[in-house]
Structures are given as C-alpha cells and as structure tokens.
Symmetry: C2
Subunit: 764 residues, 2 copies
C-alpha cells in the first residue's frame, strides 16, 4: 500500500485533481494485479470522487510520507512513482523484496496521465518553508558615493550642506494630528532657519546676501523637496516668487530696497497673480491698477466679489507684502497686466486698509502653507509701487516701455520667472525619488510566497514588482540630468536674454516630472501594500502634497499645449501665448519638412546589440518628435485651408499636440541622460548607468509601441523583442536596485519613513 | 497713413513677427510710390526692428483702429489690407478719393508674405471678450431618471432608500480638522444608524433580521460608497467580514447565536486574518490555535512579537469579538488555517486577559476606521469557538472535515467570503463615479481661454479635457453592469456551491474597479485644477480613502496572477491557490488551442459602421484574451519542458499573466455592458448607451493598440481610425456629459462637494 500513498495524497491535495481525474486514477489502478484484492478495494474506496477520505486518514498519509521521506535520499528530484517505490522498500521490509517492476511502471503511467511535476509536489509537502537568509545577500560592486556625485553634479557641496541641515532634529516632522495653524508656524520657523543660514538669498545679487546663482537656488530646492513639501513651497513662495518677482521685474532701486529684507525673511511676502476666475489664462485677469494723476498713486481694485486673488501662498497668515498682478489703466486706457508691490498687512499682522484676506481653507495637502484669498477695495499705493524694469509711468501719467505690445510685454515678464517652473519640476522629481527610495528598499526586504519547499521570496525579485518600480527609477535618473542641465542653461542666460527656448524646455520637463511624481508616489504606495498606506511610511504625505505640482506653476495640460505651439513656431513666438492666429504662418514650413525613411533592416533588427544601441534609441525619439510635429502641422494647415477658425482647429488636434509635447520631453530627458553617461569616466559606472539609460529608453518605447508600429518605424518582432529586452534589463539591474536609490542620497532623518530607512534590518 | 496701421499693429503685436520679418515688411513698403516721402520715412522708422515704437505710439494705433472699426461693416471677415483700405476711406476723406488700387494690392502682398489670418487678428484686437451665456445651453433630450433606473437595476428601491437616509443632516461630513478619535465615533454612530434601519443584516437569514440577499447587501454598499468611505469600510467590517465570516463559516447553532447581535451592532466585531508578515500569503500565517484536550479549549497564540494581526478594522477601539484565523493544531499536528470566534474586549471596553491591542496608527485615509493590531498570549476559548461549518473537533480532539486537504479546505472557506471582494469593487466604482460627477460638472462650468473675440470656452469643450474624463465615465458605466451581474450571480449560487468561477470574476473586476477608482479620482483632481485640491471639493478625501482599495481584500497584482492561473486551469483549481505545480498539467491543453485567423478584410476595414460594430469589439476583446491565454501557456510549457522550476517559470512570465488578467476583466465588462445595451427598450436611450459602450470599447482598443498591431489583428490605418472615432464619440457625447453623471444619482448632500453640486449656477 505504501507505494500508492504519494498518488493518494496528490489526488486529494488542495483540489489539485478534478473528480473525473480521481475516477480515472481509480479505474487505472483497479486492474493492477500486483496489489492484493483488499488493497485494490481500499484504493478504490479512497479514490471515490463522491466520498473523499476523512481528514484524519488523509493526514495519516501526509504524516507517513513526511516521516519516510527523511530516509529517502535526493527527495527533491523524485517523481511520485519513484517515491512510491522507495516507500514500499522502506515500509514493506516485511512484504519481501519491495515492489514489482510492473507496479513501478503502473505508478509512473498514472503520474504521467495526471500531468504531475512530482518533485515540486514533494518539496512542497515535505520541506518546511525555511526562513530566508536574514542578511548578506551578495551584491555586485557598486560605488554609491560615485553615482551620487554624478547625480549631484556641480552643486554637490551645497546639496550636502542642505542635507546636513535638514537632518537636524529641528527639522523633525510634526505629528500628523498637528493643527493647520501649528503646522504653518512650524514651517515658518523652518523657513526662517533657512534664511538665517543664508539659503534664502542664493539667487539674488551678492549685495543682497546671495550668490546671484539661480541654478544654486534650484539645487537647494531639490534637496528641500526630499523633506516636507510644505517647507519647499513656503521657501519657493518667499524667495522664489515674491523675491524672484522683485528681482526680475523691479528696477535696480526697487531691488536694492527690497531684496535684502526678503532674503532674510524680515519682509515675508506673497505673489498674487492667480484669480478665482483666471488660473491658466492670467493675461485676462480682472484686478485693475488705475493711475490717479493728482495723488500720484495707483488704485488697486478687485472688480467683483469672485475676482479675488486665490491660492496665494503666505497670504492667509504670514505675508506683509505682495506682488500684485493687475491690469494697468491710465485715463481709461489699458496697457495690460503689470506687477505692483502692495502692502497687505501691517507690522502687527492686521490687514492694511482696503485689503480683505480670507483663508483658502483646508487642502488635500500642503496644509503647512498659508494659502489665502485677497480682495483689494481701492487700495492706494504710490506711483513707484509699479515694478518698473519693463514699464514706467511718469508722475504725469505717461506710460513708457521698451516693449510696445501689452501681450508681448506680459509674456516677457513671465519668461523671467521661469526659474520657478524649473524648481517645481526638480522638486517633483525629488518627491518621486523619496517614494522610490522607500518602495525599493521595502521591496528588497518584504518577502511573500516562494517556490515549493523554498524560503519566501523578496517581492522585488518578482518581475511584476520590478516592472512597477525600476523603470520609474530610470526615469528619475534621466529627469535629474535633464533638469540640472536646464537649470544651468537658464542660469547662464544673460539678464534680459531670450528665455523662450528655456521656457519651452521648462514647461515640457515640469509637466513630465510632476506627472512622474504623481504616478511614482502612487506606485510606491501600492508597491508597499498596506505598509504604504501607513502615515509613518511617509509616502501618503508626499503624494498628497505633491499632487498639486501638476497644476501650479502652470497646469500641465496647458503647458503641454504651449510646448507644442512653441515647437510649431520654432520658439519664435512668446512662449506662454496661446493665441492660435500667431502660429498659423509657421505651419506651412513645418508641414513641408521631409523626414527620411527609416532603413528597413533597422526596422526589423532584433539583435540585442542593436536593441541596446543608444544611437538607435536617440534616432527613434528624435524621429517621433519630428514626425509628430510635421503631422500635426499638416493637419492644422488642412483645417485652416478649409476655413476652420484657428482656435477650433487647434482644439480639434489637441490630442496630437499633447502627444507631441510628451515626445519632446521624453527626448530631452534621453539626450541629457545619454550625454551624462557619455561623460562618465569610470568604466564600471558607465556600463551600469548605460543600462539604466537603456531601460529608460526601451521602457518608453514599449509604452508607445502602438505609435511606432503605426508609423512603421519598428516591425512587430522588434516590438516584442523590446519587451523581452526590458525584462532582461530589469533582471540585470535588480541586484543593484537598492544601491540605485541609495545614490539619491536622502538621509534617513529627511526621508522620515519607518519602512524606508536605510538602516533597517530585513523584514521579519 | 491710416491704411498701413493694421500692418504696423501686427508687426509689433505680441511678438508675432520676428525682427527679420519686420525688416522685410519695411523693405517691401519702402518702394511704394503711393505713399508720400514723409510717410515712407515714417513707416520705415516704425518698422525698424532695432527700435520699436514707444508704447504710447503703439497704443495710439490700437486706439485708432478700434475707434474706426466701429464704422466698418463685416469687420470679422476682413483681411488687414481690406481694413487698411476702409481706414483710409474713413480717415482720409481729406486725402481725396481713398486709396489707390496699387496700394491695396501692395498691402495684400505684405499680408500674404507675413502669413497672417487677418480676420482673427482683428477680432482679437477689436472685440472685447464677451461674457459667456450664463445658462440655458440647449442640450439633447436625455431622460436622466430612465438611465439611472438602468444603472440601479433591480435594487433601485433599496438604493433610493439609502440615498434618502444619507441625505439626512445626521450624515453630514465632519470638518477636516476633526481628530481621529472623534471621527471614529461619528462613523460608529452612522453605522449604528444603518443597523437601526435594518441595513446591517440584509445578507443574513430572515430569522436574523435580514433578507438573505447578499446582492442587496452589495447594493447598499454601492450607495454607501458614494458617501464617506470610512463609513462603508466600517459597515463592511462589521456586517460583511465579521458577520459574513460567522454566516459563511459557522454552524447553524453558531449563526443563530451570533448573527442577530451582529446585525444590530450589539456585538461589534473584527475579522482578524492579516498578519504583519502575511498579507497576501495568508495560508502561511503564523498564529496558532492549539487544542487542549483536558480543558476542552483552544489556546490562541501569537508566536512572536512581529506575528501580530495587523490592520484589523474595529480592533483599535470598538470591537468586542473577532473572527481570528489561526493554524489549527492537535497533538503537534497541523490541519491548516481555521477561523475561531474570540472575545477581545469586555463590556467595559477593556482588552480580555491575554489580548494585547494597539492602534495601527494614522493612515493616508480611512481615519474614521479604528484599525488595530492584536497579539494573543495563550488566550483560551472553548472548543466550540471554532467556526465549524467546514471542520469540527470532538471533545476528544478528533478532527473531522468533509474536505481532507488543509489547503483546499482553507481556499474553500475563502471562497465563501468572496462577497466582500465584489462589494469592494463596487464601492471603488462608486468612489470613481463621485469623482466624475464633480469633475464633469465643474468642466461644464469652468471657462478658460477662447477664440479670438469670442467668450471663454467651457473646459469640457476642449478635446483634451473630454479625453481625460469621458472614457472614464464610460468605464464606470460598464463596471456598474458587470459588477451588478456578478453580485446577482453570486447571490444565486446555492449555499455551498462552487464559487471558483465567481471568485475569478470577482478578482478580475475588483482589480479593474479599484485601479479605475485610483486613476479616475486622480484625473478628477487634476481636471478640476486648484479647485480639485480644495478639501471642500471632496475629491482628495475620496482619493486618500479609496487608495487602499487596490490593496485590501486582495492585492490587485496578486489577484491578477490568481485570475490568470484560474484561466489557465479553466477554474478547475481552488481559486486563491498560487501553487504553480498544480497548474502545469493544464498548460498542454491550453497551449494546443488553435485560434482562427482574423479575416484580412476585417483587419483593414476603416468604415465607420465597422468601427462602431459591437460584434467586432466583442470579437477583438475575446480574441485578445484567448490568444494571451494560449501564448502564455505555450511560454510556460516551453520553460517547464526545459526543466525550469514552475515557480520560477511563472515569475518569468508575470508580465504576460497580468496582461491576460486585464484582458479578461475588460472583456467581462464589455460583455455585461453590451448585454445591458441590448436589453434596453427605449430607442433613444439604447442609441445613447450604445455610444457610451462603443467609447468604452474603442478607447480600450486604442490604449492597447500596440498589442493588436503586434498580433496583426488590426492594420495601422484601422489603429489610426480608432483614434479618430474615439474623438468623434467624445464630440457626440459631450453635450450629454453632465446628464451622464447626473444619472449616477448621487444627491448633493452625499456628494458633499462645493464645486460639484448639481444645483450650482455656472462658474462666474
């Protein structure tokens, strides 16, 4: 009987066999002459699909197999029939010479008939799942510090200084139960500390306590954004928007008067542009600033109750001054939107006469920032309150500006503020990196399920988990390089230089980075399961706070439409202008561009060397962008030639415009990433970063393979080969996944995540 | 001179012309004999790219054009040259006979050279943007009540009753600043109200105060989930998990004793399955229940500090009892995981002896639910505490069960609890519908930008905005039908019937619905811009609360892997078992399935009738699922034949398994949606719902067009035509978008969203 036990076990184990299969096994064994009649009857009874053995009997078999298995060598290689033979030999010493050859053959036939993988069944049954090795998994050599140095770039020293500062207990996160009022005060005290450390003024001239280096300001921003995002927004409002508007739009006198007090936070201020009814379309905002010639004053007015300034950071609690954007009017004539410095609170914190302030209320996140609403009821400020770099009004009310058109003037002013948009993109990527640091470390520690008889497996060893996280790590690497390049190019512009191309890149990368952050923090939360839902994992906090990054400093969709229009015009138009009629005349030339066919051999080439070739990746990314540009120009032109209004024509092709803008951003990132890899000197690091870059490229090609197939740029076998190659890259990068996020360089104190700490032991 | 003004204006307007183009215009006009020398010199000076006119001069032109334009008929049709001619005639009465023909010709040539769309330039310049019509946009006939009745289905009456109940001020949302403790008490009081109204027991037998109708329970759940999600989770924990486990796993005596007290909330309880180290892999959990024969008691033990029960709803504050899942052991032998009823608190709220309770802490959302941690230090409960529908132990310690294998027994028990998973999927869809109701109504009201000279346009009139929201509306419709069908099929099962196919559908649809909710609430937040970030929009609240729906009641990725394995086995295996070796023998038969080629004509057919043909949609969805199944079976078989361990083989094809599971869910939704459309009698509604269903089908085909192209199921022109057809459907459905979400039937009080109210006037 012992020989049949493994088959009896498998017949009833875990619903493995269907009733019909159990009956077939019974029928097959019913005719076996090597069993005694009694045994045959017993086996037939135990294999009756309508009458399962009782639990005690079944468990008896399990116990017998388990005990006997201790004496069976090489158990993990055995079939059920093999084991049956061994069991018969062990148990059946009294039966004589063990099992007849025909019996062994019969058992094997039944096993085959049932399609069983015997060894795995036995391993699962016999071996208790061992505990996983607690530590010491061998990892490839990986110089985390060297990779971090590459990511940190030229501002490594500044970044380390900010990391050290934020690691101080002074910057410890408050409890989640903190009230909004108390949270705002904490954030204000943090911001004051940064100002005291000289980090507020870095973008301002040296005479204002700064370094005159906007790229360094963005580097500070980058590291701050690995910590509490209310802090980074408060810092950005005070030093970037309020101070930045004075620095970029003010006359030298105005800058000398205000910037030192702004950089030190003696004069907290706000940036009052957005209105309730005008968020994206700020050119049409409704607040007015009317010149009163007799008093030599501006009269600031909110024309109706719902035209108030909205979401203004620093307005609800702490701000004393504000840059207010309003339609400048003299003698009933409008000159477009201008910026005015307007006191909103006195030193005691009371609103100034005529200024009404309300709180924007509880938000999804960023509740440490005091966003507020402002109404101006004929508030009077002196003539010199107009920030007068781009426009001046004489005492007599004569308007003067080097830029005649109101629209062009406004968009030129906006262009000078593009640093804020680069900073927000950079901050979004920092938030994504923090989420990835938590999720990758957790995935490396958390074990669940495993092979038959083996220990449970780290969830990051699952392809599904690698697919969810590692391509996002690669994208964060690429965005780091692309955003750093952008910040440095912006900083290198002459004061007053042409910002249009920079604005285009900033809009493209801000959109990509902020959507990347939203998606990545979502994946990180899910990848950590219930643990990711816990506040102490500090993923939720970052998700809620950064959610608005896709909206503020320019709604991503609006920005993408601007990017696409900028590309159509070759950045020869003011960047932020969405007027369609200004673009029409570029369509002809764009639509006429001819793009060479791709080599048919390239289209079909599935060699691995080819699939990993950076030049091929670059060609596809560039080609996609050019082709989308040409196609959308042709579609627009066709509509306009048919007499469609240009506004309507642009609406009808919005899906194409958005696709073009995404392709542009992805190409910018690929270029910066490839150039960064190219510049690495250390061979091992170059190889490794090259793989990360290839993962970025191939995973994005895989995502958009529908388009590449449609356009006949790749053939179906290449498309499938790309997916396989992505899986291979994930497999190669898995062993260094933790090191890849360690190189983001986020100290444990700043990460603030219980499950994401770099110092934790393995998951129990 | 007047004739040249429109050209001068456009030369300097908004950076429209480049310096080179301005110079070209100057040079072209320099040779015109119809101008006086003085005029030529003046024009040349004004068109000097290095020396723009001053702002006052420029504004003088603008004023002149605007004033003169009042006297020009059909201005909106004029070119700049036409207007120049008119201006010359108006202003130049003193000059004689107006403008010479050669002058008009020259102006036209310059205009052409610059590529200007004259009429739009002029409309933009001359016409002040009018206010949008406040109300009264004509909409197609749409019987909201009739469509809502279709969505509500057979439980419409129950749903209306719950809607009315939730609209009562008693269910008003608390302030966001509420403490977790107070929030939990509010949610408890709400839950008590539901119990008092008889809504707790609906799934229980009539003798327990119920209707014995699990589908009705899910219908209640559906409407509750349009309100606060802490409430729905609390309700689900008490009546679905705690009560549901007693109902499904208890003996008749146990059910008669406990269910009446559970349904009335006299006996609040918990469902203690998940452990810190075992979330997905619950079969391997570590809590033990050892039989003490002498005392006739079970001894419940948490073996180590990190093996505690985690995330247990109702545990931290309110629960008095718990269904505790533990490894049953008798005499050192293990019989697998079983469920025991264990008191955790006494009537005064103190933990029972040996029970340690801690709070799971602050969470991303659902802070109105008291999730807790439980440790059992040799807690003793009587022998009869074992829920004994599937297993009993006699006083002497003899174990008896109708299902011999421990694994099969456990998965059979799990199968009876599948109602919870259907309820969670349904609740996720409700949360998505609430987000869509807010976002679609807001998009219909909020205006931003617009055509030259026209009013600002509702953002939902933009294709980009339609693309972001309306396909999600279509998916919510489809999920409603598919989930209702699933709930009714489950309710129709005999007690003890085979749940495996239902479990497969539940897992597929729970994953799809919860990811749909996560994505939809994200889109809704972004689509409402800053307003969506405001707490009072009540999108953030729903997003944070529902985020965990992708994780609890089965992690979506794990569920999808189970779905794929269920499909590979044709649901002949226990559903939740992820043991790979049990599946191997089905691979041969799956891999051998032959799927007919698609007709080449069909593959290329871009006719609109064809693109909208439901039969074609169904064929593609079904074909995709079958092909993915056959392909993944073949890939697995190849690996196993090559000697790869089955666990590893399954890991290597996880990406395919997940794709298969998604394809399965999408097909289930399409089928239910199409069948629902088919069943509609009213012709107008049938047509309309047919369009929504086509949008669901085509947008999903578009998303996955890479796969369909790779497999040669569609040709590139069809792929492109699908995108065009999606745009057309969006255009057709836009006018009824608000009615489509109105038909979700969420009362304003329940929606609780300031910007999403159905009663609001248009956006100011």
């Amino acid at each position: 009987m012992a020989s049949v036990l493994p088959l009896l076990y498998v017949a009833w184990a875990d619903g493995f066999l269907t009733p019909a299969e159990i009956a077939a096994a019974r029928d097959r064994l019913a005719g076996e002459a090597w069993m005694t009649d009694a045994d045959r009857q017993q086996v037939a009874a135990w294999l009756d699909p309508d009458s399962p053995p009782d639990a005690t009997t079944y468990f008896g078999w399990v116990r017998t197999i388990r005990r006997a298995a201790r004496h069976v060598p090489d158990l993990a290689e055995k079939s059920l029939a093999d084991l049956g033979v061994d069991l018969a030999a062990l148990v059946g010493a009294g039966d004589g010479a063990g099992l007849a050859p025909e019996a062994a053959r019969a058992l094997r036939e039944v096993e085959d008939m049932l399609g069983v993988v015997g060894p795995e069944v036995l391993r699962d049954l016999v071996e208790d799942r061992p505990e996983a090795e607690p530590v010491g998994i061998p990892r490839p050599a990986f110089d985390v510090a060297a990779v971090q140095a590459l990511l940190d770039g030229r501002y490594a020293e500044t970044k380390d200084r900010v990391r050290d500062l934020l690691s101080d207990p002074f910057f410890a996160y408050p409890e989640p139960s903190i009230s909004n009022e108390a949270y705002r005060d904490v954030v204000l005290s943090w911001t004051q500390k940064l100002a005291d450390e000289g980090l507020g003024a870095v973008a301002y001239p040296t005479w204002a306590g700064g370094d005159g280096d906007i790229a360094k300001f963005i580097a500070v921003f980058e590291i701050l954004a690995t910590h509490d995002l209310s802090l980074v927004v408060k810092y950005g409002v005070q030093f970037g928007l309020w101070g930045g508007s004075v620095n970029a739009l003010g006359s030298d006198d105005q800058r000398r008067e205000l910037l030192p007090q702004i950089g030190s936070l003696e004069m907290p201020g706000a940036f009052a542009m957005t209105e309730r009814g005008h968020g994206s379309n700020v050119r049409d905002l409704n607040t007015t600033a009317t010149y009163d010639r007799d008093a030599e004053e501006w009269v600031i007015r909110t024309p109706s109750d719902h035209d108030h300034k909205e979401w203004i950071g620093n307005a609800a609690a702490h701000g004393q001054m504000a840059t207010v954007f309003a339609q400048l009017e003299i003698d009933g004539e409008g000159y477009g939107v201008h910026a005015f410095v307007v006191p909103i609170r006195d030193a005691s914190g009371e609103p100034m006469p005529g200024v009404r302030i309300d709180d924007s209320g509880h938000k999804m996140g960023l509740n440490g920032v005091d966003n507020g609403q402002l109404w101006f009821d004929d508030v009077r400020v002196p003539r010199t309150a107009l920030l007068s770099r781009y426009a001046e009004v004489s005492a007599e009310g004569t308007y003067e500006s080097p830029i005649p058109s109101a629209g062009k003037r406004f968009f030129t002013m906006l262009g000078t503020l593009v640093g804020g948009r680069i900073a927000v993109g950079t901050a979004a990527n920092s938030a994504a990196k923090a989420g990835l640091t938590v999720a990758v470390r957790y995935g490396d520690r958390r074990r669940q399920f495993g092979p038959a008889g083996g220990p449970e497996v780290a969830i990051l060893d699952y392809l599904s988990h690698q697919r969810r996280l590692l391509p996002l790590v690669a994208t964060s690497y690429g965005l780091t390089f692309a955003l750093a390049r952008l910040a440095e190019d912006f900083a290198a512009l002459e004061m007053g230089g042409d910002t249009r191309e920079i604005e285009g890149r900033a809009a493209a990368l801000k959109s990509m980075a902020s959507w990347h952050a939203t998606r990545t923090l979502q994946e990180a939360r899910e990848a950590c399961g219930g643990e990711g839902f816990r506040w102490s994992a500090r993923i939720a906090h970052r998700k809620a706070d950064s959610d608005i990054f896709t909206t503020f400093e320019g709604d991503n969709t609006v920005l993408q439409l601007q990017v696409a229009k900028g590309l159509l015009a070759g950045y020869r138009q003011e960047f932020s202008d969405l007027n369609a009629w200004g673009l029409v005349r570029y369509l002809r030339e764009q639509a006429a561009v001819r793009i060479g066919e791709i080599n048919p051999l390239t289209r079909r080439n599935t060699d691995r060397d080819h699939l990993l070739d950076p030049a091929w990746h670059r060609d596809l990314f560039e080609r996609r962008e050019r082709m989308l540009l040409v196609q959308v120009a042709a579609r627009l032109k066709g509509r306009l030639d048919a007499g469609v209004d240009s506004f309507e024509a642009f609406v009808e092709v919005q899906d194409h415009l958005l696709t073009l803008a995404s392709a542009n951003a992805e190409r910018l990132v690929l270029e910066a990433f490839q150039d960064a890899v190219e510049a690495v000197e250390d061979g091992q690091i170059k190889t490794l970063l090259g793989l990360v870059c290839a993962l970025y490229a191939l995973e994005h090609l895989e995502q958009d393979r529908g388009w590449f197939l449609e356009q006949n740029l790749i053939d179906a076998p290449v498309s499938k080969a790309i997916r396989t190659e992505v899986n291979r890259l994930l497999h190669r990068l898995r062993p260094v996944a933790v090191e890849l996020v360690d190189a983001f360089g986020i100290p444990d104190e700043v990460l603030g995540s219980e499950i994401g700490s770099g110092r934790l032991p393995l998951d129990p």
